[in-house]
């Protein structure tokens, strides 16, 4: 059985950056296992630009970003890539891989899961109506269009204002489809402000806030949808139904960390992120198993995925070379407007950048961080759910803390 110091599962943006981080910090035998035939993951179908402003100080397309990041590690003989290979089981530190060469097994000292996320499908929200063709998640439509060159619809309606949906509104318009509108059940958009501007407003595509799709209709192909308004408790308002003719409904209703392997391993899951609970080293509840990138929590920008994953790579290298950090773990507690926080718990050893999201729009507000020994109010203007918040706490500040650390938003 081949032995590695570190095996990284997933060769997308997170996996590449994690490999770099681990290499930079002294690991000599790293294997990246990728399901697809090339590195880059979902970046390879994101042919729009907007990637890399923070990392490379320029706006790149998804494939260019992947290429540029991969170039940082491509000559390193310490990092091997195995393509067209799917991890089907992790048993202790033995990884079973199914690929065209056979069923292979590898032994490793540490594992980083960098498996990305998946889109929430229609079935998960119990979308009512017919089972006709024409209903796709935005990412699937993106793959058909950008990798195979086909449009899945000519008259398109989009449910959910997630970024992929917005990007696809623009892409499909440019490729000859008519995008009729976007419905968002919340009273605010779930996409980045720049995408609302560049993908909807610039193309005169209406955004229906506080609206959702009640049902879909069509015996063979989608013929129309019924749009319905919701009240401030997100309850459907009877009588507000509108029939909208379309041959395609795209869904951009949320991304879920890809956590199949983590669940099978029995790693402790945070019900808020639906992903692993990790410490400030990105280590899960199982020693030597690390999680980063969109399989830990869904990020706004690939740059943040890379940044986080490089740190996870460093932490994994540290673990392999120096052993487990046995110091006490401090718990983070969230309330009043904070929907989740990563890491969920941490050691008192270094500066830590905490990442979290809020559950609604706050115009003028404070992020309140408090506990025994700490009470800090950080003023922030315009906190929105679609933008991840980051707070860096210094080692000196954290060292004063006794017991748990609390996070809330004060309006």
């Amino acid at each position: 059985m081949d032995k590695y110091e570190l095996i990284i599962i997933g060769g997308g943006s997170a996996g590449i950056a994690a490999a770099l981080g681990a290499y930079e910090n002294g690991l000599k035998k790293i294997l990246v296992i990728e399901r697809d035939s090339e590195y880059g993951g979902i970046l390879q179908q994101c042919i729009h630009n907007g990637f890399g402003l923070h990392t490379f100080n320029e706006e790149l397309s998804g494939p260019s970003y992947a290429q540029k990041y991969y170039d940082l590690i491509k000559d390193k003989k310490e990092i091997e890539f195995l393509y067209n290979a799917a991890v089907i089981k992790i048993d202790n530190k033995v990884i079973s891989v199914q690929c065209e060469k056979g069923l292979l097994k590898y032994e490793t000292q540490a594992i980083i899961l960098a498996t990305g996320c998946r889109e929430r499908p229609a079935g998960a929200i119990g979308l009512k109506g017919d089972r006709c063709s024409g209903v796709y998640t935005a990412g699937t439509a993106q793959k058909y269009l950008n990798k195979q060159g086909y449009l899945v619809g000519k008259k398109v309606f989009i449910l959910g204002s997630g970024d992929i949906g917005l990007i696809m509104a623009r892409r499909m318009s440019l490729e000859g489809a008519k995008v009729i509108g976007v419905a968002e059940i919340q009273p605010y958009s779930n996409g980045l402000a720049r995408n609302i501007k560049q993908c909807l407003e610039d193309f005169n595509i209406p955004l229906y806030l506080s609206h959702t799709v009640e049902s879909i209709h069509g015996k063979k192909r989608l013929e129309y949808i019924t749009l319905i308004e919701v009240d401030d408790k997100l309850q459907k308002i009877e009588g507000s139904e509108k029939k909208i003719e379309c041959d395609c409904l795209l869904l951009s209703i949320g991304l879920i960390p890809e956590n199949t392997l983590i669940e099978e391993l029995g790693v402790k899951i945070d019900p808020r992120t639906k992903a692993a609970i990790v410490d400030d080293n990105y280590m899960s509840s199982i020693e030597g198993i690390f999680v980063c990138g969109n399989s830990l929590h869904v990020h706004d920008l690939v740059d943040y995925v890379s940044l986080e994953s490089r740190k996870a790579g460093k932490a994994a290298a540290n673990y392999v070379l120096n052993g487990l950090d046995n110091s006490n773990l401090i718990e983070n507690k969230v309330s009043n407007g904070v929907s989740y926080i990563v890491p969920q718990h941490f050691h008192l050893k270094s500066d830590i950048e905490f990442m979290f999201r809020v559950n609604k729009i706050y115009k003028q507000s404070y992020i309140h961080v408090y506990g025994n020994g700490i009470d800090k109010k950080i003023k922030r203007l315009g906190i929105v759910p679609s933008e991840m918040q980051k707070v860096l706490l210094k080692k000196e500040e954290l060292e004063k803390l006794q017991g748990e650390l609390n996070w809330e938003i004060i309006e």
Partner: protein
């Protein structure tokens, strides 16, 4: 001239074809849809009832009992999955407990194995039973199957043994001639077996005024994802009422859980859309189970029960038209009863009409390749012989390219995205095909020698891709 023509390739029609294929008959199966098992067979509770429930003296009762006994051997012969996981009927009041006693009497009369458990005893075995459950009738002979897998396998084996299948073939006219029937002015057949499900009366009406009226009763279901912690390990029934068996929790062969069904009479016999029934199910299911992981819901669907106004199966040769055989009203417990119905129809209604002999070169089908059921060593060997088995296409259900190619290139093979999904599961998992559908579509196009733009999702004219990029600019 065909000896026998079966109209409808659901589970009953397909099993009739399967049993007929042992003999030297010339058999044709006609199906109006583009795949088999597309009606009631494709959307139901996917289980084999023990036979405790149907009214005494009915055909439903008779065939359910016989069918339950046949399933283990049938599934072994067809090389498809069957698991006798048992069932609990959960009572939550004194009144319901009394009803359990009536069911016990029926079990005794019918030789159905049973055990009565206290609420506490039952909760030790099924920790997610609702707190109110006070008494339970345990029915260990209850089983689960994948009904479309049985259907597809039965028809595949039938076709390997000479049975013909015409898909996309709607029967629009039937004429009775002296010694045969003429279907759509082109197909001659000595015998017709009407297995047309919700359309049984429409088919009969082509020849005479149908002695029964078929209605569609819609049942909606939720599907839960595979769970790490078992939610239920048996079928959980509420105590039955006049309205029927109620809302069940049913583990499936592949580790999912079905919650449903409701029952709604509908006008349009082809309307399998989901509706408000799901709200009803959410409410009702709480009666028998708790801690329901609704956040693990990945799919919803509706099935149409072919109900006839005679309130029982209607299985007989027509009283006016010789050689026209009705197999109608096969609603619940239709899946459970199907093998027994099929065998009975063949043995009692067909064989006596012919001088026949059994085939001496009967061929058995090969099992679908299920990589999750074989050892690592076997897997490795399989991949080394054919690398396509190493290439995972469906990440959620871990289905390889080799498996998909296999189910396309068989008799009764898959021609649509849904056809592939029914046969080997890509798209059945938590992403519901989001990642693998474009890959499955490419493989279908390659294997069927079609352009990707021709591939359909499920029914006729349900194409996936509508235009090439920039085509309409």
């Amino acid at each position: 001239m065909y000896d026998i023509t079966i109209i409808g390739a659901g589970i009953t029609g397909s099993l009739i074809a399967y049993y007929l294929s042992e003999y030297d008959f010339n058999v044709l199966v006609l199906e109006k849809e583009n795949d088999v098992a597309n009606g009631a067979t494709g959307a139901n509770s996917a289980m084999v009832h023990s036979g405790h429930d149907p009214k005494p003296g009915t055909l439903k009762c008779k065939y359910n009992l016989l069918g339950n006994a046949m399933y283990p051997k049938l599934c072994e012969d067809l090389k498809v999955s069957y698991k006798a996981i048992g069932a609990f009927v959960a009572a939550t009041s004194l009144e319901e407990e009394k009803k359990l006693d009536e069911l016990v009497k029926q079990c005794i009369d019918r030789n159905v194995p049973y055990e009565l458990l206290s609420g506490d005893e039952a909760k030790k075995l099924e920790p997610n039973l609702a707190d109110d459950v006070s008494k339970v009738l345990s029915l260990p002979s209850t089983g689960i199957v994948t009904p479309w897998e049985v259907t597809i396998a039965a028809l595949e084996e039938a076709m390997l043994n000479g049975v013909n299948l015409k898909l996309n073939y709607e029967v629009k006219s039937i004429e009775k001639k002296d010694d045969c029937f003429l279907i759509n002015d082109e197909i001659k057949t000595k015998i017709i077996i009407n297995c047309a499900g919700v359309h049984c009366d429409d088919i009969t009406n082509l020849l005479r005024v149908s002695p029964y009226k078929t209605e569609a009763r819609k049942g909606e279901y939720f599907v839960l994802d595979h769970l790490n912690d078992t939610f239920v390990s048996r079928v959980i029934y509420p105590v039955p009422t006049i309205k029927g068996k109620g809302v069940l929790a049913v583990p499936t062969i592949h580790g999912n859980v079905l919650l449903g069904p409701n029952s709604d009479y509908i006008e349009d016999k082809d309307d399998a859309s989901t509706n408000k029934g799901l709200d009803f199910i959410k409410k009702e299911i709480n009666k028998t189970v708790k801690n329901i992981p609704f956040n693990k819901m990945i799919h919803t669907f509706a099935g149409l029960r072919p109900h006839i106004d005679l309130n029982d199966f209607y299985i007989q040769e027509d009283d006016e038209i010789k050689n026209f055989i009705h197999v109608a009203g096969i609603e619940s417990p239709g899946i459970s009863a199907a093998p027994a119905i099929a065998k009975d129809v063949v043995e009692k209604k067909i064989l006596n009409k012919f001088d026949y002999k059994k085939k001496d070169n009967y061929v058995h089908r090969e099992a679908f390749i299920k990589m999750d059921e074989i050892s690592d060593e076997k897997k490795d060997e399989l991949i080394k012989n054919n690398p396509d088995f190493g290439k995972i296409i469906c990440r959620c259900e871990k289905i390889s390219k080799g498996q998909i190619i296999d189910v396309i290139n068989r008799k009764c093979g898959a021609t649509t995205i849904k056809g592939v999904k029914l046969r080997c599961r890509p798209g059945m998992g938590r992403c519901q095909g989001g990642f693998c559908e474009p890959e499955v579509l490419k493989i279908l196009a390659q294997q069927l020698n079609k352009d990707v733009s021709e591939i359909e999702l499920n029914v006729k004219d349900s194409k996936v891709l509508l235009a090439k990029a920039k085509e309409d600019l």
